[in-house]
Symmetry: D2
Subunit: 363 residues, 4 copies
């Protein structure tokens, strides 16, 4: 279904970097969900670049909800949110030659769309499209919080610097909701930001790892085959530009453990079933077990750099070099965390609506 994700609750994304609007349509949301515009604005602010670690193209993200909300609550019919592209420098000229930027979608878009793609500012592939995604996700994240389900993401690693792991998860999530640069350990946060600024000075960029925790998902959510909780989350997460890896519960490292250590033993705790460790990231057999769902995303360094790179001239089919300039992020990882939260909210809403029906998230 291409630019749509989800079954019971679905989201359709549209727009280009230099178009009039980017936008998203959410369908299947329960009627009667409160839509808190301040909450949305805050989530958008967490995605927006700021200070020295971000691009100089800063947009106000004046989102407008043009359908599906009536008197502050969802109606149950499709909700469309649009965000104008306010800060567009017009570049509506014909390309004399097509020299794709390494690491970007320029070349693959050209293969797929045969030159008809809107190539300006990466077009439909632009990170700009994550703005309506975050706005839409915020509506769902707010609804989930009302049901006791919390989502939070921190920068677990950036420029080889590690943040501390999650401790008291719900408290950590609350803290992260207020941080523009989502690192739990303030000393590490400072170091990471310095490393980003250093990379920027060098015309280079850095990547890292985002770690996400979700608490409060009822045990028993997910499907055994194909629509496992891991499958649905990874499907959505790999749509985020720059995400190149997804693991649950630190899997790539922990596969070195023997089964006797990796297995999460059960215990009764305060009348509930818990596991004594959480190497499986809260999911067994594709289905949640009631423990926090924990996963992390590998976020590649921003492909936009200011160093000369080898490329090709697609028109002439010959080698050449490319030197980009303009407004770019030396890192996107601190902005991507808001996008990770948004798509996670979408997946959880979809899975819960499938299980409990279309009214579940309403009042």
């Amino acid at each position: 279904m291409k630019n749509t994700f989800g079954n019971s609750v679905s989201l359709t994304l549209f727009g280009e970097s230099h178009g009039e609007y980017t936008g998203a349509v959410i369908d299947g949301l329960a009627p009667g969900i409160t839509v808190d515009e301040k909450y949305i604005a805050n989530r958008l602010s967490l995605r927006r670049p700021s200070g020295k670690t971000g691009t100089k193209r800063i947009e106000k993200d004046n989102f407008r909800i043009i359908s599906g909300v009536f008197r502050g609550k969802t109606t149950g019919t499709p909700l469309c949110v649009i965000i104008p592209n306010e800060n567009v420098k017009s570049e509506d000229y014909a390309r004399e030659s097509i020299i794709p930027r390494p690491g970007h979608a320029d070349y693959t878009a050209n293969c797929k769309y045969h030159g008809f793609e809107d190539y300006r500012g990466s077009g439909h592939f632009s990170g700009r499209l994550t703005a309506p995604l975050v706005a839409a996700g915020a509506i769902m994240q707010y609804a989930l919080e009302n049901k006791g389900i919390y989502i939070g993401t921190h920068i677990a690693r950036c420029a080889k610097i590690n943040d501390r792991p999650f401790k008291n998860i719900n408290e950590d999530i609350k803290t992260l909701g207020k941080k523009k640069f989502a690192v739990l350990d303030e000393a590490k946060s400072k170091k990471m930001q310095e490393a980003i600024i250093l990379a920027a000075k060098d015309g280079d960029s850095v990547g890292g790892i985002l770690e996400t925790a979700v608490t409060g998902i009822p045990a028993g959510t997910g499907e055994p085959w194909f629509d496992t909780m891991e499958s649905m989350l990874s499907h959505a997460l790999f749509s985020i530009p720059a995400v190149k890896g997804v693991q649950f519960g630190n899997a790539f490292k922990n596969v070195d453990l023997p089964g006797s250590k990796y297995n999460d033993e059960f215990a009764v705790s305060a009348g509930s079933i818990i596991t004594r460790t959480n190497h499986n990231g809260g999911i067994n057999g594709g289905i949640t077990n009631g423990m926090p769902v924990i996963f992390s995303c590998a976020v590649k360094p921003t492909p936009s750099i200011f160093k000369q790179q080898n490329s090709v001239d697609l028109t002439e089919m010959e080698n050449t070099v490319i030197q980009t300039s303009g407004r770019h992020d030396p890192a996107v990882i601190h902005r991507a965390r808001a996008v990770v939260d948004a798509v996670t909210a979408l997946v959880i809403c979809d899975m819960l609506a499938l299980r409990y029906g279309t009214d579940f998230l309403g009042e």
Copy 2:
């Protein structure tokens, strides 16, 4: 869509470990694809346990294609393959108490299906269901090979031992197709197998990392949002029991690189566009760039071990211990590789049929 995956080409999986049959229905396959039963049998043999590294439950996998094939070729209508469960030890007794095995789906299945699940031998969650998946995948893999698209998976790491990386990929893939234990470096293969036997003796199990390469996918395949090539592959891969992580091009390690190193620069080579490195695993912006698609899966150690473990009695809601016995694998990674190849074939067929139409894979 739960137990169905795919849009233009789709697969539906059914069956339980102790039922009469497991099976799969493939829909959307082009008419006129040759169905080579020897090829299917070989792929099934690569999945089947053998020797000292596997479970003692060995099935002949006498698959039968009961629809969709006429005179050795696909008709274009749904192809159903079923495999009898021949070696079932009957355990059709009522559970007196439910004590879920750590790391297994026993507990989550109980939460989801309220006790109606067929719990015998993990029921619908059993690795047995990967047999029809491999049989179905083999039909698609064969069709892809006829179009010059090759898929191969090796055990890149097992019990902390690393295989050598892919070198000449198409040749390596050919080699892997003949190996029961899919390791490229024979010395490492021996060491891994020894480690598995050692773990088995200790009543324990090991995991590892599978690395897959796909060559020959035309550049321009995949969608920018939601149905990116990474999204579709990871969706299918995370359905495989024990897969807990998916990364493209060694992402979790390479996020430490600066953008100037991570970016894959372009070059013209023999009239084609290639990239000089392949950190992006053959995919930019969710769309293939014509380079080999490279990804790896973290495969957790088999949860079935013979050590006593802490668990809970769900009926009494109290702590207890569990000591499993019977037929089990000390490792599944060497068998899982055939499953990884199968679901990869499914995803590629689906994406190509979407792009080129339903006749694409036929003759």
Copy 3:
């Protein structure tokens, strides 16, 4: 999704007329639904030809449920039912020439599948595939009855003879469940059967109109756009071979009424909202209003006749004639009613599961 229908509850159909089995997979059924094999056998008997009004190919329909049921109840995982093709006269010869039968799918199948189709006995297009559809539908119909939702279909018109309309709908539905030839007025039933026998003697066939009533669907089920209750029902109904028209509440005749007569006025009755007439067939704006859902299907005369007809030789691309012989139905309308009930049950289950969640139909 081709041979699959449904979102929250879905059904996949496979098989060919002369293959080993036909079958269906239902996915998304709630765990804990009682599977009553006698009920299924009865529904299959209503579809089976009998006496002088049906084909001489009579099969026992020895259905087998090979997955998804454990101790007489659904597990919540995919349920696969297969039915062997017992009475197959082998015709596995190469066609020397392809002369499509008028009104059949021979020609269109050839256009679509390029000659790879299994043409024997109409292959995948055969009415035989409605057997597993009826078996699967019976499981869902039984579950719906346990929730107070009843489905019944009568032959409203056949060979220009009209049955009486529904009166006491639930009672009529009960009566129809016991009738092999589903006509409410016995005198009309006799006349219709005579007309069918007469047509058979003449080597000809007859069609008619099936009218269906569904009671007990909660008001508020259906979607405003695209997945309206009418859309979902008609989508499924038009899959049934020979159905060429679907109308809700006698629409094709009643469009002649003025709005003041067509509108169904509301009233309060015993604490519930009812409508005083039911021209809208229980659906407003695509959503059920709590009144019986009433629709009818135009069923074309069976295309299999024993008269010589004009056709073409596709190999030679020249005009020719065709004279068919063998086992055929002079009418299928009395058998199709069981298929209409089955797909109706599927649609209702799917829509209710979407609305109320995946556990809704269970115990």
Copy 4:
């Protein structure tokens, strides 16, 4: 998928009658389709009310394409078209009592959305939403015409008056494209319009039957089960407000024919296969046979009338009467024809893209 229709090409609809915009997103359109804004404007004008036969709420339909088009051609990424609701009389008051209008969705929307629905001017159920549907459909209809596929709809019956049937179909389609009141026989057109005006004077409304022809669809398009051409068309058509019946090739009348008359015999004509009659409406076994696809829709009389009607007060749960006033159509059938054409174009594009791939409709 609720407010989304289609698989390979899909359309998502959003908006409410009194919201800021209504809109549609088309996804899966080939890159390189010319977007002719005049053509779109013309199709919108055919849907717009005018003269004495329509509502007095006339909107300019100033559609804006805000994504997916670059330099006059589709990019291949989602195309979003929005239309402002310009002529909205604000009614943003709390309902003191809820008295549903007979024949409308007021009551069912209330059952489904629990009072959170935007009830103003029928909200999401309003005929206003057909404006973006027509705009989006126009883009697809234009693309189809470039491939030699033509769609046209006439009012076959209105207020008991019959138009002449299609004769030279392609010529008739061309004629209809220019007519605001789509009747082929001018004398009948005049009579129908007089009948509509008469009904309006009486505060009443009329309905009728729309007949549609589609020429040029390649033989072999459609699926045998569930996604038959009839299923897909009817699914989309029944989404149109007021459509209560769909038949192919005049089925409800022709079921009275014997099979020997109903069957469409084949012939070779100018090197192609044709049928000598077309009772099957160009479809056999759910798949097109190359003949014109012919179907008709029963369009109920507009439920908005100016006569007093019985209804209920939902708050008090007691009988009452309702007398509506304001802007309304005494008939919608002449406007609905543009909507029928639009959804038909959507279905055909979707089915062709599935068959021939995502580039098929491009240049």
